[in-house]
């Protein structure tokens, strides 16, 4: 028990870790706020710089950036009607109308407090559930891992974009990229097209930097001329009665955030959409209609997207499956440091789990401090012109990629993935599912082959095992339901149900 507490408080008592977390939160707020920069991009680039660091230092900085970044997107959504991050899209629905009414300060203050409440609830749920889930996960068979990964990829395919087919294509493309190289079991080259250089595979960080950094830089070139409308902001600390008034809604949407965040492959953007929808359905008589500056429309998504951070860590630390794109990148960081994300993490290196929990809580405290201060400086920094920002992003991507293996070939690959990502993005494909596919592809392959070996390569026995085992049956049912939910059958059943 004393060990648990010392790990939990490690980041709070070590000045270096304290400083790195604070630095991460500040950087995260600005990265999340500046359109064109994303938390996933920042953490991807950061992996390559921090792989020689002590793991605690690297994680402290990444956790800070993650927590700050999820919140930071709301700032520009409220002030400029430009969500800095996908999870802040719903924040703009009511945040910007509030700013237009001259209530930007109050809106930012309230969103800060609610983000912190959501964040802390997410951390509490992580601490309470993850150890039990990890114990349970030790009993999972390879086919269960296979099914969880399929479920996560299917969920992200169906929820992350307008088209399921595009989502599934993205996930399959990512998984294919993840399989390039030598097969770990038979040493056969796979999808290498005869190239010796590809035998070692394509480093997932190269893919991430290309898709999230270079592709975004090219994409931003389309909006070079867009000039945001400036807002005046002064007092931002919200009155206590205002916080208390929205606390019940905040608690409800925190739970939504944690649950959605914990589904492998989802994340803050989907959580905030669900929470906004919940607020619209449950708040019957808001003072101002939703979409015209209702505080409820600000509180719900802001609480949920920060609660989703704690939720996203649950599958990552217990099953080794990313809750969202950022945790997918953080899994990469843990692997680079020789750690084993998944149920064995709790047994082999429990301190990493408790350190992460304590660090996430600390990052939320810093979020409260930095979120309620420095607004004048913030207003200046987010006005960095794209003419300066876009070339700098490319340079950072080059430095980040080269520092991985000192290879210019990987830099060219990174540029190639950036160009591919740009075209995919232009035609409605999402980058998140591709990255999740890259990370989960090898895991899917491994668990599928283990599952098949365990039934003597018999496809009948494999299919039978999916319905005989209770856990496998639940997971198979969820997969079937998600698939059916995306077919015309859903609307047919809905219309029949409505008529009856």
């Amino acid at each position: 028990m004393s060990d648990t507490f010392s790990y939990l408080l490690m980041a709070w008592l070590d000045p270096g870790l304290l400083g790195l977390t604070a630095l991460g939160v500040i950087a995260g707020i600005y990265i999340g706020a500046i359109p064109g920069l994303s938390v996933t991009m920042a953490v991807s680039i950061l992996i390559s710089f921090t792989f020689s660091w002590d793991i605690n230092n690297a994680l402290a900085l990444m956790v800070g950036i993650y927590v700050g970044g999820v919140y930071g997107g709301s700032r520009t959504a409220i002030l400029l009607n430009i969500p800095g991050a996908p999870s802040a899209v719903t924040t703009a629905f009511d945040g910007y109308p509030l700013a237009q009414k001259g209530e930007a300060g109050k809106a930012i203050g309230l969103s800060t407090v609610m983000s912190v409440i959501g964040g802390l609830i997410g951390v509490a749920v992580l601490a309470a559930t993850a150890p039990h889930l990890a114990d349970l996960a030790l009993k999972f068979a390879p086919r269960d891992y296979f099914l969880i990964a399929v479920m996560g990829l299917l969920l992200v395919s169906s929820l992350s974009g307008k088209s399921l087919a595009r989502g599934i294509f993205s996930v399959a493309l990512g998984a294919t990229i993840g399989l390039v190289g030598m097969d770990m079991v038979t040493a056969q080259p796979r999808l290498t097209m005869g190239s010796m250089e590809l035998l070692g595979g394509i480093h997932y960080v190269v893919v991430m930097i290309g898709l999230f950094g270079v592709a975004e830089a090219f994409y931003q070139l389309h909006n070079m001329a867009k000039v945001p409308v400036k807002q005046n902001v002064d007092k931002i600390v919200p009155p206590l009665n205002m916080v208390l008034k929205f606390l019940p809604l905040s608690l409800r949407t925190s739970i939504i955030g944690v649950v959605v965040g914990a589904l492998p492959g989802t994340g803050g953007d989907i959580a905030s959409l669900f929470a906004y929808d919940h607020a619209k359905r449950t708040v019957k008589n808001p003072e101002v209609p939703f979409g015209e500056g209702a505080y409820e429309g600000l509180v719900a998504p802001e609480t949920a997207n920060n609660a989703a951070v704690g939720g996203a860590y649950v599958p990552m630390l217990t099953l080794g499956m990313p809750g969202d794109a950022v945790t997918a990148v953080i899994i990469g960081a843990l692997v680079i440091h020789g750690l084993n994300p998944g149920p064995m993490l709790m047994i082999e290196t429990p301190y990493i789990f408790w350190f992460t929990v304590g660090n996430l809580a600390l990052a939320n405290i810093f979020l409260l401090i930095f979120g309620l201060t420095g607004i004048k400086l913030f207003s200046k920094i987010v006005e960095v012109p794209k003419a300066i920002m876009i070339p700098l992003i490319l340079v950072l991507c080059v430095v980040g990629t080269y520092s991985l293996n000192s290879s210019m070939t990987e830099v060219y690959w990174m540029l190639g993935f950036g160009i591919l990502g740009y075209w995919l993005k232009m035609f409605g494909f999402q980058m998140g599912p591709i990255i999740l596919g890259v990370i989960l592809g090898p895991l899917l392959d491994e668990s599928y082959r283990q599952a098949m070996s365990s039934v003597g390569d018999s496809s009948t026995d494999f299919l039978l095992a999916l319905v005989i085992n209770p856990l496998s049956l639940v997971l198979t049912s969820v997969i079937v339901l998600v698939l059916l939910g995306n077919t015309p059958l859903k609307s047919w059943l809905y219309s029949r149900f409505k008529r009856s």
Binding site: A172, H222, V395, V399, M408, F427, R449
Partner: protein, 158 residues
Amino acid sequence: MTKKIERVRAGEKVFDWLLLLFSVGVLYEAYRIDNGVQLNSAGSFPVGLALIMLASSIAIIFSHRRKQRDPQIHSASQEFKVFLHEHFKTHIVVFSIVSMLYLVAIVWTSFYVSTFIFLAAMFIYYRQGKIISSLVIASLAIAVIYVLFTIVFRVYLP
């Protein structure tokens, strides 16, 4: 209530057909791993993924039937012109070419020299002149990169 009409973007159909071709290529490569299809081998999962890509790209192409072309576009040549106008604007082409030249230049000049030239050139171009301030910002950026990556992070630079 009127249903919102989905529009197909200029070049989208061609891109989706290219994805279908790419999927066929991946399927061929995946098939070559085992020179056949087996249930549990190095090639089984890649073949499965390639088939999923193929099926989803066919579904994407079929989904175009629900979408409509921009009413102002009447012919393929007109669509090609819109495509070029949307995606090959001068400032995007310039950025693409200069970026490639920058990556090539890194190999035969030093990282700092090529980065300074790249940043200064892009700043001057995008800020429409403003030479002095662009050079100052580029110099500052180089100084920050040096301090951050060479001194603080101690990473290897090209």
